[in-house]
Every structure is written in C-alpha cells, then in structure tokens.
C-alpha cells in the first residue's frame, strides 16, 4: 500500500462519489417535495448515457452530443412525469414501488430492443482523453478529473439554485411544508414536474459522464440506483447537503475498501483466507457503514426538518 496508489484510489472514490451525488440529488428532491419513492431513477441515468452516446456518435462532436443528450433526457423526464409519475403522487408507497418497478422493466427492455443487449462504447473527446502527471509517478486520466470537476461544478450550481433562487426556495419549502406551500398559492404539481424532470436530467448527466469509463448497457442504472438509495438514506432524505456528503463518503468508502481490504486483512490473517474474505468484506463495507449510521441516527445524518 503506497501513497501513490492511495491517492489514485482516493481520486477514484471522489469520482464515484460525484457521480452518486448527481443521481442522488434528483432522487432526494423528488422524495422531499412529493414524498415519492422512485425506483426507476436509475433508468434515467441509463437513458442519459444511451441518449448522449447516440447523439455523440451522430453529431461526431462531444459537446454538442452531450447537450442534445441532456435535452433529450430532460424531455424524457417530462414525458414520463406526464404519463406515469403525476398519477402516482399521493399514492401509497407500495403502489409507487410497484408502478416504478414496472417502469424499470419496460424501459430496460425497451432500451434492450432498440440498442441491443450488448454494451455500446462511447469515445471520450480528444482534448479530455489521455492522462496527466499529477505528481511524480502519479499518472491520472484526464477524463476522470473532468468528471470530478464537472460534478463539483454542478453541485455548486445546484446549491446556488436551491439556496439562492425563488424556485429553490419553493423546493426547500415544499420539501418540508408541502401543504402550506400549496395553500399559499404555489402550484405544487408543476413544481414537482420541474423538480422531477430536472432530477432526471441530472441523473442522465451522471450517466453520460460515466459512459466513457463504464460500459453503456441496459442494466447500468441498477447498481447506481441502489448506491444512491444508500446515499440518501445516510444523508437524510430530502437534504441536498446530506446527499452531497453521504455521496462522497459512500464513494470513498466503497472504492478504498475494494482497493485495500484484502491488504488490510493480510496484516491480520493468513494470505489465502484474506484473499478470499477481502472482496466479500469490501463489497459489504458501505452497507455496514450505512447500518451503523442508521443504528445511531435512524433519520440519517442531516434529516430535512419535517412538519
């Protein structure tokens, strides 16, 4: 275990954390504003990756393709909201789970039919490919740095939007006192529609950014969705700040655990048993962390104040 490797893995952890934050942000806002559990949020992430990959291949220009992909994801968010989600607000959570589960099946299968089940590749743009030397002996891919930077940038924008603008104020008010906001004459359904479609676009953005380093395949959203659940449960549902910190925590713990768990175990146990138990323990790590946090704080670290 040396410093360079530790640094690289820390950066990788940050990068995973940033992606998770982009996905979790929309999820936690949709839950906060409308008390809505959306299992199909991972689908937006997957859809974003597919739409951007298609648009990039079509326009042969990354920036243009990304913009088109984001517009398409936003549009898909509005369409889904109108067709499905708006009819589910205020329903029992079990009904929301069931319907969004059905939506996952439909969208995943639909993407499989249109694009095929095998992964598709997406090229990184020319200037952002290759690696840079961060310090002697530490070569790091530019694209991953771009992911971290753009993710932090979006997080900052989101914070400004939520904390400093009128619509952000409505979102914050709506997430804690929806009936009162509604009584004050705000169209809470329209607010939900905007928040939902915007959250879908954020998830799609995360999918597009992750596309060059992961394979773009129909089930890519599942794993991310569940990690995003872990993130918002740890961070406290409805809280953007909580989601941000929890996302970085989960990203770092997961990445560092996978990288070093076997080595750490080798300090205490025989090599062969450490090699066997290491990967299993590493994959359990974030869930154990989640369980510990919830054991002491069942509402998460930064629960949004309710009623």
């Amino acid at each position: 275990m040396n410093t360079t490797l530790l640094l690289v893995q820390t950066l990788n952890g940050l990068q995973l954390g940033v992606i998770l934050f982009l996905v979790a942000a929309g999820l936690t806002l949709v839950f906060g504003v409308m008390d809505f559990i959306n299992l199909a949020h991972g689908v937006q992430y997957m859809l974003g990756a597919y739409l951007t990959a298609t648009a990039v291949a079509w326009t042969d220009h990354f920036g243009l393709g990304l913009a088109l992909g984001m517009l398409a994801t936003l549009a898909a968010g509005f369409v889904l909201e109108i067709l499905v989600y708006r009819h589910l607000t205020g329903r029992d959570h079990l009904e929301q789970v069931l319907a969004t589960f059905g939506l996952i099946l439909f969208m995943t299968e639909g993407v499989k039919m249109v694009f095929g089940a095998s992964p598709i590749a997406m090229r990184t743009p020319e200037i952002l490919s290759g690696s840079v030397v961060l310090m002697p002996g530490l070569l790091y891919p530019v694209w991953r740095i771009a992911i971290i930077a753009s993710g932090l940038g979006v997080a900052l924008l989101l914070w400004l939007l939520v904390a400093r603008t009128r619509i952000g104020m409505l979102v914050r008010a709506g997430s804690t006192h929806a009936p009162i906001v509604s009584a004050l004459g705000v169209d809470i359904d329209r607010l939900f529609m905007i928040v939902f479609a915007f959250g879908a676009m954020l998830a799609g953005f995360a999918g597009s950014m992750a596309a060059p380093i992961l394979s773009v395949e129909p089930n890519m959203g599942d794993g991310v969705l569940i990690l995003a659940f872990v993130v918002i449960v740890i961070g406290g549902i409805g809280s953007i700040r909580g989601a941000f910190l929890a996302a970085l925590l989960v990203g770092l713990v997961d990445t560092l655990g996978r990288a070093f768990m076997t080595d750490i175990l080798k300090l205490f146990f025989a090599n062969s048993s450490a090699a066997k138990a290491g990967p299993a323990l590493a994959s359990m790590l974030i869930y154990v962390v989640m369980a510990l946090i919830l054991f002491f704080r069942p509402q998460g670290l930064f629960p949004a104040e309710r009623r």
Partner: protein, 328 residues
Amino acid sequence: MATAPAANDNARPSRLGPFLRSPAFGLVLVALLAAAPAAAVLLGQPFWLTMATRVAIFALAALSLSFILGQGGLVSFGHAAPFGIGAYAVLILADLGFTDALVAFPVAFLAGALFSGVTGTVALRTRGVYFIMITLALAQMAFFTFTSLSAYGGDDGMTLWARSTVAGQKWLKNDLTFAYLAIGLLALFLVLGNRVLASRFGRVFRGLKENESRLAALGYDAYPVRLVAYALAGGVAAVAGALLANQTEFVSPAYMAWQRSGDLIVMVVLGGLGPLHGAIVGAAVVLVVEETLSHLTEHWKIIFGPLLILIVLLRGGLIARILGGRRG
C-alpha cells in the same frame, strides 16, 4: 407512510367474499394446486409438473412476504435475500457433506431467520420509505457478498450435485415426489402462518399496522413483535429458496437479485394484500403470465412492465377485488 385510502370504495362484498377470505379457501387453493402434478403425470405433460412445483415454491416465498407486508404493513424490498440464503444453505451444506433435507431445510430456515433478524434490528428502526430503501440495500449487500464468494461459483453460481436426500433416501429425485414436498410445505406454512396470525402475537402484529400508537398505549412494544415476525418470514422464505435450489439443482446470486424481491412484491400485491393464501393466487398469476408472455416474445417484460403500471393506475387488480382484500 401515506395512509392507504379506505378499502370500501369498491368493496361491495358478495356472499362469496367471506368464504374467499377464509383460511378454508386457502386449503381449497392448495388442493387445486395439488391436483396439478397428478394431472400432469396422467396427461403426460411434464411441463405442468415443473410449473406446479415452481408455483408452490414461489407461493411459499410470497406467502412469507405477505405475512409481513400484507398483514404487518412492512414493505420489504429485500425479501429475495433470505430466499437466496436458503438456496446457498443447501449448496454450502452439500459441499460440506450434509446432503440430507432433514439437516439442510432446518438450517436454511435458521440461516434465513438469522439474516432477517440481524438486518431487521437496523431496518425496523426506520419507517416508510426509509424501510423500503434499507431492506433493498441490505439485500444488495447479501447479493454482492455471494457474488464475491469465489469458492461457490461467484457471479456464475454453482450446480448442486444432487437433490437433497430425505433420511438417506433419494426420494426427491422423483419430480412428482418433489412437487408434493413443495406443495406439502406450502400447506404446512399456510396453516402455521394462519395460526400465528390468529394468536395473541399475531393480533398484536396486525394491530401495529392499523394503529401503532394505540397499541403502544396498551403497553405493546412494536419493535420486538415486528422483529420476530420479520425473522420468521425470512426463515420461511429461506425454506422456499432451499426448495428452488433443489428443483433447479443450481444456485447463483441471481436468486437474491433485487428484481426477484420486486417479483415477490408483485405476487403479494396481485394476491390482494389480504389473507395469506392470496399469495398462492398471486404467484400462480405472475408465473403463468410470465410463461405465456415469454412464449409470445423474448421481450416479454416490455408488456409485463406496463401491465404493472396499469394495475396500479387502475387501482388494485381484479384478483384483489375477487379476494376482497385491501389493495396496496
């Protein structure tokens, strides 16, 4: 959790209603299911035999979920985890040399109950949407743990050498005997489940779904009651998993994939969220629909998904209405 709208907007109970909801009707359903394997053999339709066994196995798993979801209001999205753990119990015990069902099935039950009991200590401290997400996350933890167990096939899973023996006899090699074992266990746990629900413990557990504070005022503590019910349900799900491992003679992490948890919820909801035996109807409907659609097209999920959405949007299914149970 949002309160479920009152059940009376479409409940005009027919004279049949009370009978369909009674435990006696559950036994009728089991008897109908029990007729299928015999009929399959008589008519020379081996596929029906496999199908009836699958229905019995998934009905057992759905029944255990219905116990906590339908009766206790605990929306667990991780019920595939104890199910898969039961399957792995059979595989791992066989690997260690214990191939007898009289060992494997009780151990599977205990393993499932232990997993649910331990994870339940955390999950049950939370409510509503937190509970859904946490049960899902904890089930994923089990999934990834078994994925990284390279000794037992990792991602790909592993073939079971042979079906479990019973007291040293290879009775279960016969598919018909196996079908009746599955149906017999389903009947056993249906009766036991109904007995538990009718007991003092069961009444408290059901009461907690209706009004927790009222029961608290009466001096009942929700947490231990829910924990015991949650662990029991995990144990029964594990028995179903042990059965499926034996039927397919193959075990893989896919047993506890989150989609399977979703499937089990679909079965319970289609079964009406009411009496336990609704799960038998739900499991049969889901498996038959899946089978039929998958004959039409390999992309059957493109039909099944919207079907689920429609069922929710149109408020509770036909089956729920027939059984007169409460929809979700």
